[in-house]
């Protein structure tokens, strides 16, 4: 029988009296949730802090940068020119003070004002979030469909089909977004004219960008899923289902798939963050609005509040996505409990 390893599970040796150690289910669920929230807050705080200090390391005088951004000209500035900016953004305060102010802002959901757009960062991000999240979710959904169909069709079908199947996985996973995007654009928008070149946010416009993100992701997930799929196919419970008279396709869809997709579910949470990276490139290729382009523009022009805002937002997305993944995981595999 399997050994219960001593440090995999959170084991507290020599816990106190048994009466106290039998909390109600509700209470332990509450504790788990509280732990989740605490760790989420830590992640958010950490991400925002890293971003804040990373930006402090950026070269150049901040007031100059702000002025240059506003005027769209790259040059040195006289102290007189800079004075109002310094006053406006409190740049003469110590870094610590700025950091504390920044944290205070974070707590009340105030990320400050964009240097460039004069607008609250929350407004800028609020506008762009939907486009990117839609893109990400559509991409993840497409990649799931691609992945499930492909793996179900090709996994565990003998060496030759398997080689083709996993070969395609590897190729797909290795395709760089920028290249794939350009090729898709070239073929399907410029060549065949099936899709608009600059789709904007409409449904037709999302196909190519989403595919660009989805194909490598599908390949990536398929690699993990395929391994699991083939492992699951060999599992006795699968043979046992066959012994009951179940057909191959049914076995694959009803039993094997559910086991095989677990790693892909985990990957999906991570993928939401990764597609954000991809979005930077894809949004540029397909001229789409979104967090990715905001980020590139902001980093490019050292629009500190926006960058920090994006980072924190991404961390939020990451935390939420992981929570969702955990929940999905427990739905698919009730054996695991939130931990």
């Amino acid at each position: 029988m399997t050994r219960t390893s001593s440090s995999d599970a959170p084991v507290v040796a020599g816990a106190p009296a048994p009466a106290a150690a039998r909390p109600s289910r509700l209470r332990s669920a509450g504790r788990l949730l509280a732990g989740r929230v605490v760790s989420a807050v830590v992640v958010l705080w950490g991400a925002a802090t890293v971003a804040f200090f990373a930006q402090q390391l950026l070269p150049g005088d901040r007031a100059t940068v702000i002025l240059n951004i506003r005027t769209g000209r790259a040059q040195r500035r006289t102290p007189e020119e800079l004075e109002p900016i310094i006053a406006q953004f409190g740049l003469d305060r110590s870094v610590l003070q700025q950091y504390l102010d920044f944290l205070r802002g974070l707590v009340v959901g105030d990320f400050g004002t964009s240097y460039q757009q004069f607008r609250p960062v929350t407004a800028i991000l609020g506008e762009q979030l939907a486009a990117t999240v839609t893109l990400s979710l559509v991409a993840i959904a497409i990649s799931w469909v691609l992945m499930v169909v492909w793996v179900t069709l090709t996994a565990g079908r003998g060496p030759r089909v398997g080689a083709v199947g996993s070969g395609v996985d590897v190729v797909a996973a290795g395709l760089p977004h920028y290249w794939l995007g350009i090729i898709l654009l070239l073929v399907f928008a410029l060549g065949l004219r099936w899709f608009p070149v600059m789709g904007g946010t409409g449904p037709a416009g999302i196909v190519l960008p989403a595919l660009t993100l989805a194909i490598p992701l599908a390949g990536f997930m398929a690699q993990a899923t395929r391994t699991e799929f083939e492992r699951a196919l060999e599992q006795p419970f699968v043979v046992s289902a066959r012994m009951r008279g179940m057909g191959d396709t049914a076995v694959r869809l009803r039993h094997v798939l559910r086991h095989a997709v677990l790693p892909a579910v985990t990957l999906s949470g991570w993928a939401l963050g990764a597609t954000l990276s991809g979005a930077v490139v894809v949004e540029s290729i397909f001229s789409r609005p979104g967090i990715g382009s905001v980020l590139v523009t902001a980093v490019n022009s050292q629009d500190l509040p926006v960058v920090v805002g994006v980072v924190t937002l991404v961390a939020v997305v990451y935390v939420v996505a992981n929570l969702a993944v955990d929940i999905a995981y427990t739905l698919i595999d009730p054996r695991v409990r939130l931990s």
Binding site: P59, R70, R76, E127, L190, S284
Partner: protein, 520 residues
């Protein structure tokens, strides 16, 4: 789209939405970037407009004149013009706008005006006086640029920065309807429009209902969108696609931007280029015509003049032709300058030091891909005579942070500056002093003699005489090889045949949609 040209009967269609793809999204509709000038040009009216022949013609101002001493300009406004917020376009508002620009409300307007502007005051409802510190006879010409769009004083005073940034209130043919950041700005027709410029093709409100001003950074995508009919007009057609767009039956507009061309200014304060011989050698080592001709596919004109572009009044052919491709001469000059040895890579040495020069450039911002390719040609050709040019693409963030802005950090400055007149020379070459630093003087060339020529030209009322002085300044620059031209910056526009009446305004080449209309 190719077929639509022949099938159209030419009958004007009322209304409609123009979908226009522009390359870069500015942070605000109004401001000191050229992108902003293009945009605000649809929304704001200027005092005056520049017509096809380079003549200043009435717009908000019916007439204008400068005083005898050139120090006071009087503008008389059209009657009954209103801003779209209902307040009148009166002398008060104009004076307010001048003060607003100079105070930093528009950085480019500020640079133009700050050394000359004294004050502005409303004489009566329709008359405004501008007082200058020194005569500036080309003031009206300059005021035709988009940076000088007039905004509602009431809006500037009562609305937030954010609101004025996103949707400035002017009296123009269109108003800002909505800005979807990262995607587009929609402009909607001002039905009450009364203040069209004198060089417009029609009167009354604009023909089209709306402009969907999209931001599409990638040139290939823009052109493809035009070809597939997704957009009606695009800005900045990549040179390599020019021919195919033309073959597709699209209407092409090309505007050579007056002002400073894309040029190389040499660092005259530090490094090898402090030696005039070396600068000249560098100039001789390049076959700029060949480089630009190939990379620019015959669309981008090459430019020899380092001071102003060929589209600028007062352009000097002589200055442009000063240096031709002459590697032998370049070698001689370098030998003469003491760079006699060469190392194994063929780089010249002097006292053991290699002839290495750093050429930073704003990749993707100041120079587009074509420009970057041209610089690679420069690097390669200069290496023939023994220069080791280090190309440093600098991201915008670093530029904004002031990277490569000191003489120690770089040996060249590359870039352009749009301007209606050769007055740009003043901005670029005014000596930098302790009390009045001039960071726009990229050559770090503080020469009172050159400054004097330019200053004199600035204040010379007679156009001929003024141009002669400006030409003299250009030749002065050429002779000393302070800057050499590379190519002229272009504003290009490709328009679907179903859309007529789009023209490039003559101050900066931005698209003008006031007269635009669809045809059947």
């Amino acid at each position: 789209a190719a077929g639509s040209a022949s099938s159209s009967s030419g009958e004007r269609v009322e209304g409609g939405t123009i979908v226009y793809a522009h390359q870069q999204e500015p942070p605000c509709v109004f401001g000191g970037w050229i992108e902003q000038a293009y945009l605000s040009y649809q929304v704001l009216d200027n005092l005056v407009s520049l017509d096809e022949d380079g003549e200043v013609v009435p717009w908000l101002a019916e007439e204008w004149s400068a005083s005898e001493d050139g120090l006071t300009w009087t503008f008389t406004l059209q009657e009954g013009v209103q801003f779209t917020d209902g307040t009148p376009v009166d002398a008060e508002a104009i004076a307010y706008n001048f003060d607003y620009w100079v105070a930093g409300g528009n950085s480019t307007a500020q640079v133009w005006l700050q050394d000359y502007y004294e004050s502005a005051n409303a004489v009566d409802e329709r008359t405004v006086e501008i007082h200058l510190k020194a005569p500036y006879p080309r003031l009206a010409d300059n005021l035709t640029q988009g940076y000088f769009g007039i905004q509602s004083q009431h809006a500037l005073e009562t609305r937030s920065d954010e609101e004025n940034c996103a949707a400035p209130i002017g009296s123009g043919a269109f108003t800002v309807e909505h800005w979807t950041r990262g995607q587009n700005i929609t402009l909607v027709r001002n039905d009450e429009y009364t203040s069209w410029p004198a060089n417009a093709e029609h009167t009354g409100p604009a023909y089209v209902e709306r402009i969907d001003w999209r931001f599409v950074p990638d040139g290939t995508t823009r052109v493809a969108a035009l070809q597939s009919g997704e957009v009606d007009a695009v800005y900045d057609v990549p040179a390599v696609q020019w021919q195919s767009v033309e073959d597709g039956g699209f209407e092409l507009h090309r505007y050579i931007t007056p002002g400073r061309p894309q040029q190389l200014s040499f660092d005259t304060k530090e490094g090898p280029f402090t030696d005039q011989l070396v600068r000249q050698a560098f100039a001789y080592s390049l076959d700029r015509e060949e480089i630009v001709g190939t990379i620019g596919h015959g669309v981008i004109p090459w430019e020899g003049n380092g001071g102003v572009s060929q589209a600028t009044p007062g352009y000097s052919e002589k200055a442009a032709g000063w240096y031709s491709y002459d590697p032998d001469r370049a070698n001689e000059l370098l030998d003469e300058a003491g760079w006699t040895e060469r190392n194994s890579d063929g780089v010249r040495l002097k006292d053991g030091e290699p002839l290495k020069v750093v050429l930073p450039y704003g990749a993707g911002s100041i120079l587009n891909a074509d420009g970057a390719a041209i610089l690679q040609g420069v690097k390669e050709q200069a290496s023939e005579v023994g220069f080791d040019v280090e190309l440093v693409p600098v991201p915008q963030s670093e530029l904004f942070a002031g990277a490569y802005s000191t003489p120690e950090e770089r040996d060249f400055e590359v870039g352009y500056w749009t301007s209606v007149t050769a007055g740009i020379l003043y901005i670029n070459w005014r000596p930098s002093t302790e009390e009045a630093p001039n960071y726009n003087n990229g050559a770090f060339y503080d020469d009172p003699e050159l400054a004097a020529i330019i200053l004199e030209a600035n204040s010379t009322a007679d156009v001929e005489a003024q141009n002669a002085l400006y030409a003299k300044a250009q030749e002065y620059i050429a002779e000393r090889a302070l800057a050499i031209g590379l190519y002229d910056r272009l504003s290009t526009l490709a328009v679907d045949p179903s859309l007529r009446g789009v023209w490039q305004e003559h101050a900066q080449g931005g698209p003008t949609f006031y007269d635009a209309h669809f045809v059947q």
